[in-house]
Amino acid sequence: MIGAIWAVFVRELQLAARRRAEWVQPLAFYVLVVLLFGLGVAPRDPTLRQFAPAIIWVGALLAAMLGLDRIFREDRDDGSLELMVLSGMPLPPLVGSKIAAQWLFNAAPLAFAGPLLALVLGLRGDPVWVLFIGLLLGTPTLMLVGAFAAALTVAVPRAGVLLPVLVLPLMAPVVIFGAGAVRAASQGLPATAPLYFLAAEMVLAVVFIPWVSAAALRNTLD
């Protein structure tokens, strides 16, 4: 079974490596969104720094949305999803492996770009580190919930707008605690409590989401 999980993981990474646009474009989108916020306010406006956590978190959410739709759709179209279901392997670990690979090439670059963009928006010192840790803890939750929504809508021909409508309400706690941690750190307060909340959400999502996503996928194949 470990072999099967590993095979799915490697296959996803190979696919991503051969189509570089899929992980480069969300990154470019992310940088552009944040830079447009910078251009939208007056030069050297100090309020930009206050809004930086929210801008960076929301930008990361939107950029991560771009790649979600294809997580299961291509596998469903070319039949490999059916093979996975029929392989006799339990589906949840395979789904979890796909999501992990998706996080690695789709969300992890965003998490690493976040602190750099925070520097561009004028954050310095501890808040940047808190932002980075927050993004590392929050983006897996985002990918898991996003993959769940993608699994629900995999049979819908054009799920483009539906997907964010399903995902973003569920992401509210992640934005609240992620941006809240950075705000607390920039005021010199301890940021551990909101970071623990982010970690708790991630653990919950890691435990439950692969199972509900697998159920959603099976539902579309009935």
Partner: protein, 244 residues
């Protein structure tokens, strides 16, 4: 003991039972609503701080309570639908979502109307208000997902999964006033007894029951319609239509 449960699980028998109960729910709800509105708007004394504006709680609190109750009903029905593949439970999930969205919208709008004179703002970014708004979007997500998937049974199961995952939000809304330092009032129901006078309280309780019964009525009617539509090719619906 489980016979009633199995009987309710069969669409024709649920259709009959819901049809028998629905008118009584409606009559009881309208009666209690009339008493509650009369008690709340005429009998209850004005508040010493808020004057007559407090009277909006007779709409606001029952609507907010139902916005959470309907979601919980939906989540329980979703669980039943997923575990036992029960058609009636699937229909219950799909039928409850727009009703719950309406109650959530009503709670938000009535709260805003009250907030403008009392807090001086239509909207504040307060945990309870925000999570109630998120709840509205969760309901709309279920409605949108149900509309997007063509096959009704597959759509209902997808909605059930979404409802279960979204259920995480319900305790957050409920306890947000306790957990966070919120502008929103705390609950008037404490272990030490209610914090408002009986003259103000009894119309609220009556409205509360009236709204809940109204939901029961609407849910019965909507589930009957949905069942008729989904089972339109089955024999029991056709016999029913011939008889009618």
């Amino acid at each position: 003991m489980w016979i009633w449960f199995h009987r309710l699980a069969s669409p024709p028998s649920f259709y009959r039972t819901a049809g028998r109960f629905a008118p009584w729910f409606l009559v009881a709800s309208l009666l209690l609503l009339a008493i509650g509105v009369w008690g709340g708007l005429v009998m209850a004394p004005p508040d010493y701080q808020q004057g007559d504006a407090f009277r909006i709680i007779y709409v606001h609190v029952p609507a907010a309570w139902l916005s959470l109750l309907v979601y919980t009903v939906m989540a329980v029905a979703a669980f039943v639908a997923l575990v036992w593949h029960m058609k009636v439970a699937e229909v219950a999930v799909v039928a409850a979502a727009p009703v719950g969205a309406s109650f959530t919208a009503l709670a938000l709008v009535s709260g805003m109307l009250w907030g403008k004179p009392m807090w001086g703002a239509w909207w504040v970014w307060d945990p309870r208000l925000t999570s109630e708004l998120v709840l509205l979007f969760l309901y709309l997500g279920v409605v949108a997902l149900n509309n997007a998937i063509e096959d009704p049974r597959s759509a209902a199961r997808a909605c059930s999964l979404l409802a279960l995952v979204g259920w995480v939000n319900v305790p957050i809304v409920h306890y947000s006033v306790v957990w966070w330092n919120s502008l929103h009032q705390g609950s008037i129901f404490r272990l030490s007894g209610p914090t408002i006078t009986w003259d103000m309280l009894w119309p609220l309780l009556v409205c509360w029951i009236a709204f809940t019964l109204f939901f029961a009525y609407v849910q019965c009617v909507r589930m009957r319609n949905e069942l008729l539509f989904r089972e339109r090719n089955s024999r029991w619906v056709q016999t029913l239509m011939v008889e009618a």
